[in-house]
């Protein structure tokens, strides 16, 4: 990649920041230069984000119908899946999936709720009152 070919697509996800990359000048010498982002990179990043957003939307509807607990919504909202969430919480996946059940969720003790809320960067109130609070 030549320095002149380094993408400067000014993508939204870069927030005006620049990243360092290595590219060759006209004489073929490697230099460190910067990029303002690449459209291809933006496409695949937005792809995974919109995937999670879509799942979060579905989870909201199901939470409203009492078919799932707020944990599933906040999990997707923070770009995790059940396995990543379980690992981040220090639980097993089946435990996390069990916590998706509204009945089980209502009986969760405060310690677990606090741990979830901390991970999701919300208060316990916000967590248990979802989606009514929104």
């Amino acid at each position: 990649m030549k320095i002149s070919e380094v993408p400067q697509d000014d993508t939204k996800t870069m927030h005006g920041e620049k990243k360092a990359v290595y590219a060759v000048d006209d004489q073929g010498r490697y230099m460190q230069t910067t990029t303002k982002g690449w459209e291809a990179e933006e496409i695949v990043l937005n792809q995974v984000i919109s995937e999670f957003e879509e799942k979060a939307r579905e989870a909201t509807i199901r939470a409203k119908n009492n078919e799932t607990s707020p944990i599933e919504y906040f999990m997707y909202k923070n770009w995790m899946d059940p396995l990543t969430l379980a690992q981040a919480m220090g639980l097993y996946r089946w435990q996390v999936k069990r916590h998706f059940k509204p009945g089980v969720f209502k009986k969760l003790d405060n310690k677990i709720l606090e741990a979830y809320a901390r991970l999701f960067k919300v208060s316990v109130d916000e967590l248990i009152n979802f989606p009514r609070g929104n």
């Binding site: 360092a20 290595y22 590219a23 073929g28 496409i43 995974v48 899946d81 990543t84 690992q87």
Partner: protein, 335 residues
């Protein structure tokens, strides 16, 4: 710590090679980031379909996190103090003592908990490296190698980032050089590390590492059935590209960084072959970018109007080109 140079913040393409480069410079060993990346054997390719993260197979263009630090110990004769912790408070107390003494330290952190990262980047990725070079009250001064400028972080956020759980959990991992050999024979170290990388890429005993791994990925892509799970296919292709580009690879899945290393190595060893290998590796990097572009187009298209075999061919080209590079390196190092 006497004689430690003050930290001069620079932006690097990749976090771990950036941190190690910056730490070595503080200890009077002034190497470029590509040199550190290459000499510590940072390059690889791995496609491991049976180990999944967030439901996606592992695709890696570089060695596992931590290997650049290990490579610096092995190939650059650097001695690090390293420590992982069980007790969060102990980790914080020791960090404060070190930093107040003027030590400049590397830390392993989770980007999920770093408030200065753009929200879109805050995934559960636990192997991000950064430097702490000072403290002002409750805030630590951070030199994050993939950012343009230095930042600050509250002790509480840093604690969360150092003690995130999950895959590659940092467990408060801290490291800083205590003994740096500034008279290291780079020529010998370069030869040794290139040989090791070449051997791994050409002769890995398993089908999912090195050139074989790239072909393996190509076959997998060629066999995807676009009439069945179009959405899953798009997510899979997108995932490969994210692994190639995300969190500072210097573009082209580290191939440009390695090409920069080969060029520099060629000057040091006065080898025209290494210069040629660098040029060829640059082409390989460009091919990886072509592949990324092909995948991104497939991700964007609303219909199944892309041909997985075309995309597979793009990967195959990378494998063929890289094989030429390693073969040239192999013969030129024997001479």
């Amino acid at each position: 710590m006497a004689g430690l140079n003050p930290l001069e913040h620079r932006q690097y393409a990749h976090c771990e090679s950036g941190v190690v480069t910056a730490l070595l410079r503080c200890h009077n060993l002034d190497l470029s980031e590509p040199m550190v990346f290459g000499i510590t054997g940072g390059l690889t390719f791995a496609y491991i379909p049976f180990i999944k993260m967030t439901n996606m197979p592992i695709v890696s263009y570089r060695m596992i996190p931590g290997s650049i630090i290990k490579g610096a110990v092995k190939n650059l004769d650097v001695r690090f103090n390293t420590k992982r912790y069980r007790d969060k408070e102990e980790a914080l107390a020791e960090l404060i003592v070190l930093v107040d003494q003027g030590e400049i330290v590397g830390l392993q952190t989770s980007v999920y908990w770093l408030p200065y990262f753009p929200p879109e980047m805050r995934f559960q990725f636990n192997a991000h490296n950064l430097i702490i070079y000072g403290r002002e009250g409750e805030e630590f001064l951070v030199s994050d190698p993939v950012f343009e400028h230095t930042v600050r972080i509250k002790a509480e956020d840093l604690q969360n980032a150092r003690f995130a759980r999950g895959t590659l959990a940092p467990k408060g991992f801290i490291y800083y050089p205590v003994l740096v050999n500034t008279c290291i024979d780079l020529r010998e170290a370069i030869r040794k590390s290139i040989k090791r990388t070449v051997h791994m890429m050409l002769y890995a005993p398993v089908p999912f590492i090195g050139i074989k791994g790239i072909h393996y990925l190509a076959r997998r892509i060629g066999r995807l059935n676009v009439h069945k799970d179009l959405r899953d296919i798009r997510l899979f292709l997108g995932h490969i590209v994210r692994m190639q580009e995300e969190i500072g690879t210097g573009g082209g899945g580290f191939r440009f960084m390695y090409a920069a290393f080969l060029q520099e190595a060629g000057h040091i060893l006065e080898s025209v072959h290494l210069g040629e290998a660098s040029r060829m590796m640059t082409e390989a990097g460009d091919m990886w970018r072509q592949f990324a572009l092909g995948c991104a187009k497939a991700c964007k298209s609303r219909t199944a109007d892309f041909d997985v075999e075309d995309i597979a061919r793009l990967v195959k080209k990378c494998a063929i080109q890289e094989k030429l590079v390693y073969s040239l390196l192999k013969t030129s190092l024997i001479q």
